[in-house]
């Protein structure tokens, strides 16, 4: 995935899209006050400077789907593991809730079900039947909408073809009003995501930790760069 910070406005359409797609529970006021709110993708906001010279930066942070993910080796039961396709899989069923993965994750993108989630009826009718509803004691996180990936692969297989670039879009990418996010196969050098990931604006979050994140951030450009060019 490539996220263009020059386009991202921090509007959080991705956050709500993710909630809708992935059956993420709203934990309610009390639990939110105890820092247990779950947003698989969040938009981090940073201020720099003092009034009136304040700069604001927005940075959407989903699971970075690291190539060398710190969350994976620490899980004693393989609930967090590397899938064949290179995702950081989270097998809810296998999770016993050590929360070690969440501690190891430098990006804090893992969320724990401290209680069983609750939907006031009939809000449960909104639940996406393609995604399981996690229960108490289970760690969860952004999956890059693996259900959409799987559906796309099944569809392509049924039509006896390969998955086309851009055919599969996670909910956040689909919703992004500024088209700041691009999703694609990084192992395919021709994909749009690969092309953008080679941009000279490309950086990776906490790259120095050696986690090889698969989310690439395109840093904000400057108007003056444009002027000089």
């Amino acid at each position: 995935m490539v996220i263009d910070l020059d386009r991202c406005t921090g509007c959080e359409a991705c956050v709500v899209a993710c909630h809708a797609e992935n059956n993420i529970a709203t934990v309610g006021e009390d639990q939110a006050a105890r820092a247990r709110a779950m947003h698989w993708i969040r938009v981090e906001r940073y201020y720099e400077g003092e009034f009136p010279n304040v700069k604001t930066k927005f940075m959407p942070v989903p699971c970075q789907q690291c190539g060398a993910a710190p969350c994976e080796p620490v899980c004693p039961t393989f609930a967090s593991y590397h899938t064949i396709e290179g995702l950081n899989g989270q097998v809810y069923n296998r999770c016993i809730g050590t929360r070690y993965c969440a501690n190891a994750c430098p990006y804090n993108t893992r969320f724990f079900n401290f209680y069983n989630p609750v939907w006031d009826k009939p809000l449960d009718l909104q639940l996406n039947p393609d995604v399981s509803v996690r229960s108490e004691g289970i760690m969860e996180k952004c999956t890059f909408c693996v259900q959409r990936i799987k559906a796309g692969e099944v569809q392509a297989a049924a039509e006896k073809r390969l998955v086309k670039d851009g055919e599969i879009q996670p909910a956040c990418v689909q919703s992004c009003p500024t088209q700041a996010m691009v999703f694609g196969d990084l192992s395919d050098p021709e994909s749009e995501a690969s092309r953008l990931a080679r941009s000279n604006r490309a950086t990776r979050l906490l790259d120095e930790l050696g986690t090889f994140p698969k989310v690439t951030y395109l840093q904000r450009g400057s108007w003056h760069d444009n002027e000089n060019a």
């Binding site: 639990q31 981090e44 080796p73 393989f78 050590t98 501690n103 430098p106 969320f111 930790l209």
Partner: protein, 449 residues
């Protein structure tokens, strides 16, 4: 020391096994109630969910893992110290070893409970066992938690063996001195010990082997516990110094716990003639060494962090030095160094009372140290947007308190069933001492007590 006859020794040391006082029963009841409260709290947690704790995002580990590390650390009191003393043939060890080993076994059992207590789905804890299943999934051997699983189990097995072997002759002794159902019980517990020379030499041999074997195991256990942290790329955790730092801390807290336990036994079981000032003084010296070593490790860890000045490391460093966690940090330094150092370094202060005060400080300080390793790091992990804080809940506190009560309860029960000082070893000591009189414990020194 007035040299005691073997009969007197028997009399003194087996007295606790013969009856219970109301005071004992009251204390035991109290501890049992606290333990039950803890168990109820745990059941409530299982029923309601981990939300009843104060844990949150990003502080996913709190009191439970603190307790885990603390108890595992405490367990280094016994087996390790006892093994070292056995190997170095320190004769003053004789009355000390068993109380030490008992601490190991119980503290380790309590500590080993916490990884299960802190699970989100504790009923699935058995997935840590490497057992074949149709699913074809084994536990992840790359996970430090799994190393913990094996290390702790090995250590526990070793410690239990180490504890049980030298108990056998005493069991036989009790068996021979009692009647009725008790005789039957001790008959079983003594596992057929008859005291033949063959058995004695086997025991000696086994103890020598175990003493050698258990030392590396003990060192490895706390190294592995430290790697639970050091293997994760978390600022403040990801440090090469952690393994020796943890082992040092473990022995440090272990000795302190031992001193406290010995003092209590001495007082309540009236063992003033067996647990002498020399024992406290020698252990106090050891504690002093560990205190200095501990201080060195803390200093080294802090210095390298500060000098390195990595922004994410400093984000953890400052809150502990001068920020929200500073009171705890400085309390830890006071408990672990400022209080024990003068008490233990000045000979006049190195009395039984003195060492106990120092030890209490150390136990509190070491608990704080574990807490300060875990919580500030987790609450200041890299991206400042996700910084957090942590406040324990009532459930966590009651479970923590219950484990202390649990140790007391187990200790009390144990000392009722099994002589807490090794009778045969002490007798053997008396024999050698009167024969050769080399005596580390010089009589006049002891009388000064």
């Amino acid at each position: 020391m007035t040299t005691k006859t073997p009969e007197q020794i028997n009399e003194d040391l087996l007295r606790p096994l013969e009856g219970t006082s109301p005071r004992y029963l009251a204390a035991l009841t109290f501890f049992v109630l606290v333990v039950l409260a803890g168990a109820a709290a745990f059941l409530h947690q299982v029923y309601a969910g981990l939300g009843v704790t104060g844990l949150n995002r990003p502080v996913f580990w709190g009191f439970y893992i603190t307790d885990f590390v603390f108890w595992i650390g405490l367990s280094h009191a016994g087996t390790l110290i006892s093994a070292i003393l056995r190997l170095s043939n320190a004769t003053w060890r004789r009355p000390v070893t068993r109380c030490a080993e008992v601490i190991t076994v119980f503290a380790l059992s309590i500590g080993a409970m916490f990884p299960v207590v802190h699970l989100g789905r504790p009923w699935l804890a058995f997935w840590l066992f490497p057992y074949p299943s149709e699913r074809g999934i084994w536990p992840n051997i790359r996970s430090p938690l799994l190393w913990d699983f094996f290390a702790i189990n090995t250590y526990l097995l070793g410690s239990v063996t180490f504890l049980v072997l030298p108990i056998l002759p005493d069991m036989a002794l009790v068996r021979d001195r009692t009647t009725g159902w008790k005789k039957k019980l001790y008959h079983v517990l003594s596992l057929g010990w008859t005291g033949t020379p063959r058995q004695w030499s086997r025991l000696e041999m086994a103890m020598r082997i175990m003493a050698v074997a258990v030392i590396p195991v003990a060192v490895s256990v706390h190294s592995i516990v430290s790697w639970d942290f050091a293997m994760a790329p978390v600022p403040g955790w990801h440090s090469t110094i952690f393994a020796p730092y943890f082992v040092c801390g473990a022995i440090f807290s272990g000795i302190a716990a031992l001193i406290i336990a010995m003092a209590l036994l001495r007082k309540f079981l009236h063992l003033e003639d067996y647990l002498l000032r020399i024992h406290f003084e020698n252990l106090g010296k050891l504690l002093l060494v560990m205190s200095l070593l501990w201080f060195y490790f803390v200093f080294a860890e802090r210095l390298t962090t500060w000098y390195g000045n990595g922004s994410s490391e400093m984000a953890v460093f400052w809150p502990t030095q001068s920020g929200s966690y500073a009171p705890l940090f400085w309390a830890m330094v006071v408990c672990n160094f400022v209080i024990p150092f003068p008490i233990l370094a000045i000979k006049k202060l190195r009395t039984i009372a003195g060492t106990v005060v120092a030890s209490i400080g150390v136990v509190i300080g070491m608990w704080l140290e574990r807490f300060l390793i875990i919580v500030p790091s987790l609450s200041h992990k890299y991206l400042p947007y996700s910084y957090g804080s942590y406040r324990p809940s009532f459930t966590e506190i009651i479970i923590t308190v219950a484990t202390f009560a649990g140790l007391a309860m187990l200790y009390m029960l144990f000392s009722k069933i099994i002589p807490i000082i090794s009778v045969w070893e002490l007798k053997a000591g008396e024999v050698t001492e009167t024969a050769t009189a080399p005596a580390l414990a010089r009589p006049e020194q002891v009388r000064a007590d």
